[in-house]
Symmetry: C2
Subunit: 258 residues, 2 copies
């Protein structure tokens, strides 16, 4: 502290960096948190460039290597994406098709294809127990139930029961299907201003019941994979909750553990 032989960088006592947060945290961690908050607040739209590293370093009154470290962290977490020579971009998450991380559909040429989507029903119902727990509501609270069927090569492969919390998504009930398309998350973003930043999936296997068996065109009681999914905003609040049932013969998943 009081060492008079101190040579290098001037003491960092000046206020300088406009980063809050717990001052005991390293600077790169506080900058990471600040950038994450600015992304969540949509200061930069998904798909847009954030300022260059040099500009960020100036803004946070620190060296370029320190902001690089924060940015690298956010890239690992999947919030940002670097393109050399071009810039650093806010990643536009594309989770709707990520259900098909669990199921495999490849055509004759071995290309991965996303099954077609059909909305069968949209009704206001009292929330079933699982959906209520997933959405953080009381059992029986009114929610919008959406029944969606996924077909691949004319064959039903996945059936989804979606539950949307109600004041917010009321308008979804009457939207024309032509205005919706095969993916819902872009609709949530465009029409309801909420961006899905992460999802939590829970998988299990069960015998399929009558109605779902009919929709999937399989024998009642045959095995299906159940994917329970909560869609979450950047601040971890729940946007929707869904239970998907998929044909077990299409299930495939690969994971490397270290």
């Amino acid at each position: 502290m009081s060492d008079p032989t101190r040579i290098s960088p001037p003491p960092r006592d000046e206020p300088g960096a406009p980063v809050g947060g717990d001052a005991r945290l390293p600077l790169h961690a506080r900058i990471r948190d600040d950038l994450a908050a600015r992304i969540a607040a949509q200061e930069w739209a998904p798909g847009a460039v954030i300022p260059a590293e040099a500009a960020l370093a100036r803004h946070y009154a620190t060296s370029i290597n320190t902001v690089r470290r924060s940015v690298e962290q956010l890239v690992r977490e999947g919030l940002l994406e670097r393109r050399q020579g071009s810039g650093t971009y806010v990643r536009r998450p594309a989770f709707d098709a990520s259900l098909f991380r669990w199921f495999h559909f490849t055509d004759q040429d071995g290309r991965v294809t996303v099954p077609e989507s059909r909305l069968l029903r949209r009704t206001v119902v009292p929330a079933p127990e699982d959906a209520a727990r997933g959405l953080g509501l009381a059992r029986g609270d009114a929610v919008l139930h959406v029944l969606r069927l996924r077909l691949w090569a004319e064959t039903p492969v996945v059936v989804e029961d979606l539950y949307l919390p109600l004041p917010r998504f009321a308008r979804f009930k009457e939207m024309p299907e032509s205005a919706i398309g095969p993916l819902l998350y872009p609709v949530y973003e465009r029409e309801f201003g909420c961006l899905v930043a992460q999802v939590e999936d829970e998988l299990s296997i069960a015998a399929v019941d009558g109605e779902h068996a009919t929709l999937l065109q399989v024998q009642p009681g045959s095995a299906v994979v159940i994917v329970d999914r909560a869609s979450l905003a950047a601040d971890e609040s729940v946007i929707d909750w869904r239970r998907a049932r998929g044909r077990a013969d299409r299930f495939r998943y690969k994971l490397r553990l270290r």
Copy 2:
């Protein structure tokens, strides 16, 4: 290149660093690969300290920050573990029980328990196609086949077919079961000097055949979860390949995607 105004660090043309690998790769990547290979070769035993960063920097004739980057990478990959003030350690991985990341067994108190293990058979056989592919051998090459049954509360829950490449694991065939215990990876390490640093699992669902149905005490044709696992050393060479079949009603998996 020929800029005479060049000021800083001397051109890195001297041979200096004894790192091989593709010279187009960044230095930190080549050092990472070299360290990974040295770990795989057990130059440092699991649990032991590797040389200090300053020493590594000297050895590779580079700056401390470059080796830091390589070490950070290996820490993220789970091969190393840093302890501030103490040193950087080779992680001793514990993967054998990680099969039960896919299946859930909790006792009355909700504690997770690892099922008991029973070796039913050890025979030398020509490698079946899947095992040969997994091991990088030709179909029909001789391998050691181990049939293992896992029981939980006296009930069979998982049956595993393991395939061990043969010159190396020949001695395993005659080892007394008392010298083996419920986990194999420690045996591989202690008796055969090879350390499993990572595993690659591939999951699917299928109807179970006659013999495996009998072992699992389920109806032939009922659904089981198949886990194909390759056990890999730190340098990604394959140590064994196995196919586990587990009761579908015990399957459960949770994943957060960002």
